[in-house]
């Protein structure tokens, strides 16, 4: 199933005014939210338009805040403040959480990749070494078990020998 990010940009929607989020993405979200309720087509259309309106509304407010701070680029803080101002402060927490997660994952990736790069060992080599280690451990374990088995055999053999000797001597007496 193609993800929505795989959609080609500008697929027939040349006009800025006709821009909206893709229907399929919206349908999926609604289905996950309220699976048991069917949604009329015109209701979907309306939700779609409301979303676009929402985006415009929040961007516009964020833009105002941004200009007041004499900045040129709208930052996430501006968006969060705009949400608060427009009565959607309830969204702030979740939006912030997602933002932190994205930053954390990106930072970890950078740190992790730089750590591996600094060691100078490529991924394949590391995997190979890991396989070697496992194989070695397995072999050592097998050898240990075999030794134990041999020792056990020997001990068993000795016991049997002793038993035989004991049983033999009384028979001699009877002959």
């Amino acid at each position: 199933m193609a993800s929505s990010s795989a959609l080609p940009p500008g697929d027939g929607k040349g006009e800025d005014d006709e821009l909206s989020i893709p229907r399929a993405a919206l349908n999926k979200m609604i289905k996950e939210l309220i699976p048991t309720v069917r949604v009329a087509n015109d209701a979907r259309e309306l939700i779609l338009n409301c979303c676009t309106e929402f985006i415009h509304f929040v961007s516009s407010e964020a833009n105002d805040i941004c200009n007041k701070q004499n900045k040129k680029t709208i930052s996430p803080e501006h968006i969060l403040a705009a949400l608060e101002n427009l009565g959607f402060g309830a969204y702030k927490e979740d939006a912030e959480a997602v933002l932190q997660e994205t930053k954390a994952v990106a930072a970890k990736k950078r740190r992790a990749s730089s750590r591996l790069e600094n060691l100078g060992i490529p991924e394949e080599e590391l995997l190979r070494q890991q396989q070697e280690l496992f194989a070695k451990a397995r072999q050592e374990q097998a050898e240990l078990e075999q030794q134990q088995w041999i020792q056990m055999q020997q001990a068993l053999q000795e016991q049997q020998n002793m038993l035989q000797q004991q049983t033999l001597s009384p028979e001699d007496d009877y002959s």
Partner: protein
């Protein structure tokens, strides 16, 4: 030898992080590029950082959630199984924060 072991562990955790990142991407149901285009269609808006677009994308998702959930309450109250436009209409009238959408309804 133990160095190699820890490195291997890091490799595994990296892969699981990639998985988590993929799951994270799945959280963004709405395409970031589309949202950015909608933002830019406003002539006043000049530049927005990538993180700002992400924040807005999440907010829009939450908006869809609220809208749908509130409308469904109206649907269930009317003992219907299909969410119809009038459910949205009635709900938009009641909540203050949805006032800005009044213009949209008329179109």
């Amino acid at each position: 030898m133990s160095d190699v072991e820890t490195q291997s562990q890091e490799l595994q955790s990296q892969e699981s992080e990639k998985q988590a990142a993929n799951d994270n991407e799945k959280l963004f149901r709405l395409p970031l590029s589309r949202i950015k285009s909608i933002m830019k269609s406003d002539p006043d808006v000049t530049l927005a950082s990538q993180e700002a677009v992400i924040t807005l994308a999440k907010a829009t998702e939450l908006f869809i959630h609220s809208l749908s959930k509130d409308a469904v309450i109206s649907t269930l109250n009317s003992k219907r199984k299909t969410l119809q436009r009038k459910d949205l209409d009635s709900m938009l009238d009641t909540k203050d924060c949805y006032v800005f959408l009044e213009g949209t309804l008329d179109s």
